[in-house]
Amino acid sequence: MNLHYPVLCFITTESSCPPMQAEKTLKGGAHMIQLRHKSASGSELYRWSVDIKRLCERYNAIFIVNDRLDIALAADADGVHLGQEDFPPDMARKMLGKGKILGVSVSSVSEARSAEQSGADYIGLGHIFSTTSKQKSGKPIGPGRIPEIVDNVSIPVIAIGGITEKNTCEVMRRGASGIAVISAIAESPNPETATAGLIKNMQSCLQ
């Protein structure tokens, strides 16, 4: 599985059925879906994974699972996205093999370098702006930090945290290879058009 950049990744919320959310954003052109649900049971996660994977195949998009490498393996997802408190990325890379996608969340240069050394395909850098979607401690790192991270790793950097249609251009111009969003799509009255709008902004400001 190869990721094509710039990439728009939609991360599911816990507020409604993840496959339904995925379908709406895929219709708008999302390139990647990350199933993130901290309170669901293993059987629910597996069932959703199978459904979202099928949807992603239909829309030629990539499907990855947040944190739960076990579910990613069981459902044969395209990959897994790991936070700093999740499964060790170097072990995850060994278990996934080379053909799968490994993403790692970072918020500093040292974490970014370590993720790259562990075999990550991309890093999720954040949170860039303040966000209500996740219970994040600490201040946003700000878009000004993006170039520093981009200059210190050779893998793509995907910006996450408070990304909207308005600030997409700013993060892309500072070197991000894509954006990962929750609220900008999930909280939109029309997730499909919100997705298309974000992608359009992301691509047009790079030209």
Binding site: G42, Y46, D70, L73, A74, Q84, D86, F87, P88
Partner: protein, 212 residues
């Protein structure tokens, strides 16, 4: 898959999910004490830990099991079981489908929690190596699996399956004999290992009841 040289121990300890409450080192030490006394299956069930913390704890506990007959089983996270060299994985009733876990990960002993005959039959058909069935008796923990099912249900499940069945729920050394007489291969418990000031005494009583 159960390694040919490894018969499953008949005593099964489930961790109490409290490793994160400031009791670092508690579980590894408890596991060391128990496994140096009697062969036991240790199920690491610490649902509040992050995957990273669970990974580290599993590695540590694995290093504290000196007795080769004892097994370390990880609740649900077969990725962590594989990565840390644990012996197996235990899938809760609401876990990832067992056949998906077994496909491609055949090196692990795979167990399943069941609360009905139907679930037990289905788990065996999916390839489970052993079952945990219960609750058999009243439990102090009030585990949310409904009222006790009693020894008759246990006997029914054991008679209709051919893999080892561990009885769980309100298990004590005194009640162990009844479970075995009703067909259980062994017994599983949680609080009795953790609450006990007289762990050695408890283990000796279990040992006697299990004929080990």
């Amino acid at each position: 898959m159960i390694p040919a040289e490894k018969a499953l121990p008949r005593l099964y300890m489930v961790s109490d999910g409290q490793e994160h409450f400031g009791r670092k080192q508690y579980l590894p030490e408890l596991v060391r004490r128990i496994t140096s006394h009697i062969p036991v299956i240790v199920q690491l069930r610490e649902k509040h830990l992050t995957a990273k913390a669970l990974y580290e704890l599993s590695l540590k506990i694995n290093g504290h099991i000196h007795d080769k007959r004892s097994l370390l089983i990880i609740n649900e996270r077969f990725d962590i079981a594989l990565a840390t060299g644990a012996d197996g994985v235990h899938i809760p009733e609401s876990g990832c489908p067992l056949d998906r876990v077994i496909v491609g990960f055949q090196g692990l002993v795979t167990g399943k929690s069941t609360h009905s005959l139907q679930a037990a039959l289905s788990a065996e058909a999916s390839g489970a190596d052993y079952l945990i069935f219960g609750p058999i008796f009243e439990t102090p923990e009030k585990i949310p699996y409904g009222p006790p099912m009693g020894l008759n249900k246990l006997a029914e499940v054991c008679a209709n399956t051919s893999i080892p069945v561990y009885a769980i729920g309100g298990i004590s050394p005194e009640k162990t004999r009844q479970c075995i007489e009703n067909g259980a291969y062994g017994v599983a418990a949680m609080s009795i290992f953790h609450a006990s000031d007289s762990l050695n005494n408890t283990l000796e009583r279990f040992q006697k009841a299990l004929g080990q």
